[in-house]
């Protein structure tokens, strides 16, 4: 497949991709720190300032950075139970996102949603904790955009485990049938919690499944942000110009566990996982190519830390939701049942 429609990457846009990856990693490291801070010495999933399941996206930054570089706030994106990287790359504000993760009143959902249910209407960003079920609503956002007669697109992100769900296949069919401006992005991180894709999936590349629905399918190997950027650019351009949906599968990396607290005893290559970390690899590529100085990288990191710590402080300072308001928001008109 040619990549002719994707703009050539300049040094500045390369730094921008790296910057997004750095911000995501800094964020996930900080959430991880806060998540464990008050769960020691005995891990209790329901304890602490950040309770509940926590699915972090370290290692999958190339997917978020490469795809979202082509999107504006007017485009829509639906994410999964592992949503932080795409949220950040999409431009979702860190303060209300973090406050929601901390279950606070100033969070996007006033503490009703949590880390798997982040909704930022100003960025048309949402996520769902049910595998593959974020795809059908993405079709509807694309349907609305198409009816509005503009060139806005919707990205539906999911994992490789979702590609065996009915909702995935129904969504691909309907998107292709109605020529909707959707880009399906499959993050293949090799693992459906503890089950390797070889034991879950009948094909070695989910990109081939696109052919069954008459849409282009691309597989990006090596977790390369620039290859994602190229594939994403072509798919987004196709959708914007009325050319319909595309399926992109990216072979990415789950650097950490399925959720925090996952000891990953099922993962034979566990020790070598950090060797495949895409972030230092891309940093070094840019440093060697001369498009990035050590000072620039340090400044990138410093800015990321500043933004992330500001968001964490904001979340911690935000009040808890008022228990007397526990019935709010079931309906818009305030009637519960």
């Amino acid at each position: 497949m040619t990549l002719s429609t994707t703009p050539e990457l300049t040094e500045e846009s390369r730094r921008s991709l790296l910057n997004t990856m750095v911000l995501i990693r800094t964020y996930e490291e900080a959430i991880r720190r806060e998540y464990y801070a008050d769960k020691m010495p005995a891990f209790d999933i329901g304890a602490g300032l950040v309770p509940g399941e926590m699915h972090l996206s370290a290692g999958q930054e190339p997917v978020a950075a490469g795809i979202c570089a082509h999107l504006t706030a007017d485009d829509a994106l639906t994410a999964t139970h592992r949503p932080h990287h795409v949220a950040i790359a999409k431009g979702v504000a860190l303060r209300p996102m973090t406050a929601e993760i901390f279950g606070r009143e100033d969070g996007f959902g006033h503490g009703r949603g949590g880390h798997m249910h982040l909704f930022d209407p100003s960025n048309h960003f949402s996520c769902s904790g049910i595998i593959a079920e974020g795809l059908p609503p993405a079709l509807g956002q694309a349907f609305a955009f198409k009816r509005q007669g503009n060139n806005r697109v919707t990205v539906a992100v999911t994992g490789e485990g979702a590609a065996n769900q009915g909702a995935f296949h129904e969504s691909l069919n309907l998107a292709a049938l109605w020529n909707l401006p959707v880009i399906f992005v499959v993050e293949d991180n090799d693992w459906g919690i503890s089950v390797p894709r070889s034991e879950s999936t009948s094909v070695t590349s989910n990109a081939v499944r696109a052919a069954a629905y008459g849409m282009p399918g691309v597989r990006v190997e090596d977790n390369s942000v620039e290859a994602v950027y190229a594939a994403g650019g072509e798919a987004v351009a196709r959708a914007r110009s009325g050319g319909g949906p595309t399926l992109i599968e990216v072979h990415t990396l789950r650097l950490w566990g399925h959720f925090e607290g996952d000891a990953e005893g099922y993962r034979p290559e566990l020790k070598s996982v950090p060797d495949h970390d895409p972030l230092p690899r891309y940093r070094d590529e840019l440093l060697q190519a001369g498009g990035l100085s050590a000072e620039q990288f340090q400044a990138m990191q410093d800015r990321a830390v500043e933004q992330v710590e500001d968001a964490i402080q904001f979340a911690k300072a935000s009040p808890a939701p008022n228990p007397s308001e526990h019935l709010n928001y079931v309906f818009s008109e305030g009637v519960n049942s």
Partner: protein, 354 residues
């Protein structure tokens, strides 16, 4: 996504429950008219589902709409409920007002995640920042030997799960006004119409399936029960086709001096608890007639409403529901499990004898 849906919501200008007038329509035609009138003045309203286009809906919920509004706004879908109901949700999130048909309520099993985890929860999870102004209309009920997978009411299942209004009309007038209110609602509404109230030419006739309906647009507010018949001896709380059966029984027993009050709930969510309590306060005897399964459902809920209010009100409590068995195929068996007029009548007689 939008914090304020862009639909031209003008419900405040509409009449609320006007006089019925003289024109008569079937329930199916009344529903079609409500949808049509909304579509005519709000571009964001569209209809989508299986066979809603040229066929006009398997139970005639959309007859004629495609002729007036075309295939761009009256859209036949693949047999792919998860995809198209989810599509409706996404379109609603972006400010459209979809009316999506799930052909039979029984089919919810293939798409319930979109309905209860997405349609019903997005508003809550977003802290009220994302609205889902969508109508999911679906056919319910048995009585014509369609078997265990095509005859269920299931409204109690939907009503059990928070975040959906659940509307169940019993007659043409209410069907039109409730459909208008459902389309106007900023919240998701499950609109469950019993096949037996639609006035279809190919099912057993039911004289209350055709009734007076104003031509003008109007709303029947969601959440207000209707006193379908006033009485003093016993209260029947019911809904949908069972309202008709209960009224038939009430008329018959009137000649014997038994005075039956019939409350048509019109919606499960919100549930008009005041109307239930008001009537039972008067009669002291409560019968719930519900074509849904008996256990863990609406009938127990209605009784609990009264018991929690003041259990001493209740001289007599009974229910006429589908016993906890799938709907059988054979006519002789199905007619035993459904809340037929004969079962209702026997239950009223027992109640007033207490």
């Amino acid at each position: 996504m939008t914090t304020a849906p862009t639909g031209t919501n003008q419900s405040t200008t509409l009449a609320v429950e006007p006089e019925p007038g003289r024109r008569k329509l079937s329930t199916a035609k009344a529903m079609q008219e409500a949808i049509s009138q909304r579509m005519a003045r709000d571009e964001s309203v569209f209809v989508m589902g299986e066979d809603v286009g040229p066929y006009g809906g398997i139970f005639s919920s959309t007859t004629g709409l495609i002729d007036r509004f075309g295939p761009e706004r009256v859209i036949d879908t693949p047999i792919s409920e998860t995809a198209f109901i989810g599509l409706g949700i996404g379109a609603a999130v972006e400010g459209m007002r979809p009316v999506v048909e799930l052909m039979f309520a029984d089919f919810f099993g293939v798409c319930m995640d979109q309905i209860y985890n997405h349609m019903a929860k997005i508003h809550f999870e977003s802290g009220g920042n994302v609205k889902v102004p969508m109508v999911l209309m679906t056919a319910t009920g048995g009585g014509y030997s369609d078997g265990a997978q095509h005859s269920q009411c299931l409204w109690g299942t939907f009503a059990h799960l928070p975040g959906m209004k659940v509307v169940v009309p019993s007659n043409p007038y209410d069907a039109k006004g409730l459909m208008a209110a459902a389309i106007d609602s900023d919240d998701p509404v499950v609109f469950m119409f019993h096949k037996g109230i639609m006035g279809l030419g190919w099912m057993a006739k039911n004289n209350r399936a055709i009734g007076a309906v104003p031509e003008e647009e109007y709303v029947v507010p969601i959440g207000k029960a209707r006193v379908a018949r006033e009485g003093t001896d016993v209260t029947i709380v019911t809904l949908s086709l069972s309202v008709h059966h209960s009224l038939d029984v009430a008329e018959k027993l009137e000649a014997e001096g038994i005075s039956v009050e019939v409350i048509d709930l019109r919606s499960l969510v919100p549930l008009d608890r005041d109307a239930i309590v008001r009537s039972v306060t008067k009669t002291g005897r409560l019968i719930v007639v519900d074509e849904d399964y008996q256990s863990f459902g609406l009938s127990g809920e209605v009784i609990a409403v009264v018991a929690e209010h003041d259990a001493s009100l209740l001289t007599s409590v009974s229910r006429v529901c589908v016993p906890d068995v799938p709907i059988p195929y054979a006519r002789e068996l199905e007619s035993i499990v459904l809340p037929t007029p004969a079962r209702i009548e026997a239950t009223v007689r027992e109640a007033v004898a207490r």
